[in-house]
Symmetry: C2
Subunit: 220 residues, 2 copies
């Protein structure tokens, strides 16, 4: 029940700035990587199918430690989802910010999404929002709010992207950024779902290419 054989010495703990010299027994785990392991499990199995024993084994923490660190199962699920959203946002925010042609921007966003969805040792992990959060959303208002936030955040980013493209003359004046954005989001959703059904990366990339062609016009 140990996360790392090597205990975190002062030298091997670069993130703790100023070393606050915590009082009691030191933690045998690092919260961030433990949360990452929990996230992996929830993404793979969903909420109900993931037991505390599974989580305990994956994180290397026993149950009381899990509770003291993250609260009960539902809280851990929610914290995992927050972490997922932060990671996903981090992997895309730069692509949305930098200046580049729409086509390239879209291609890079979808490449980032595919990397998130297809990674995983025991099979593709898919998208947290699509695979499990949407499922829990009907019954849990807090999860529903987070899922909605995730959906609209992506819609807005895409809408912004198409609006800029229109201003740059990359899209015709008749283009509707909001409608295009929702199609762009829909493409994200469809590859998330298909990746769960183990559709190959190649096919998913073909879907992405076709979608981009329809949205911004076939490459000249």
């Amino acid at each position: 029940m140990v996360q790392k054989s090597k205990p975190p010495s002062a030298a091997t703990e670069p993130e703790r700035r100023s070393e606050p010299k915590r009082r009691g027994r030191p933690r045998a785990y690092e919260p961030e990587i433990a949360l990452g392991k929990a996230l992996d499990l929830f993404r793979k199995q969903g909420f109900a199918a993931t037991s505390l024993d599974d989580l305990s084994e994956a994180t290397g923490m026993n149950r009381p430690s899990l509770y003291s660190a993250f609260g009960d199962k539902r809280e851990l699920y929610i914290k995992s989802y927050q972490r997922y959203r932060e990671d996903a946002r981090a992997s895309m925010v730069e692509i949305f910010r930098q200046e580049m042609p729409v086509r390239q921007r879209l291609a890079r966003i979808y490449a980032a999404a595919l990397n998130i969805y297809l990674s995983g040792e025991t099979g593709p992990r898919g998208c947290f929002t699509v695979v499990t959060a949407a499922s829990e959303a009907v019954g849990d208002p807090e999860i529903r709010a987070m899922a909605l936030e995730g959906l609209t955040e992506l819609d807005k980013a895409f809408a912004n992207c198409f609006r800029r493209a229109k201003e740059n003359g990359e899209l015709p004046a008749s283009a509707d950024p909001a409608a295009l954005a929702q199609l762009a989001s829909a493409t994200i959703h469809t590859i998330a779902i298909r990746s769960r059904a183990r559709v190959s990366r190649k096919e998913l990339e073909a879907i992405v290419k076709g979608a981009i062609d329809v949205m911004v016009g076939a490459k000249p």
Copy 2:
């Protein structure tokens, strides 16, 4: 533990043709409606979160009866999914078959989809494939095969639809039916997901309209 207070007399059982005069004690349930109740539950809660007690209560059958009729939980889940796909196909096959303008055909397909996704007494039920089957698909080859089948079946129907539209001159010669089809499927998937997050019917219809406009051109 009774499905209907009125026992099925010979007169009130129109579907059993020729009345084979079954030998033993008559069933207290009708398999078709019991399967429908199980389907509702699985759609709402997914596989793991649905217990046999839940299923027993919903179907009005006790567990031994459930087993003798449908097998274990996984088999019941698979039979529910088959039933769902049959129902979904039935609600769309005519729309795909009949002769009508693309725009109208798409509108009617999406209306049918929304009816499936938004119905439900305790909240929107979403799409079986998207909400729960995609989740189980990574770990279960049989479910994965069914999910893949459902996805490609829809893709093909849409591709066929766009191919005909192109032949009829409703779409430009440059249109790519396969790419459009995958976008049309993606739109199905996105409204399935959003419906689970309780996005209103109005908003979903707006998304559908925008998607149709992009796919076949804004209405003149």
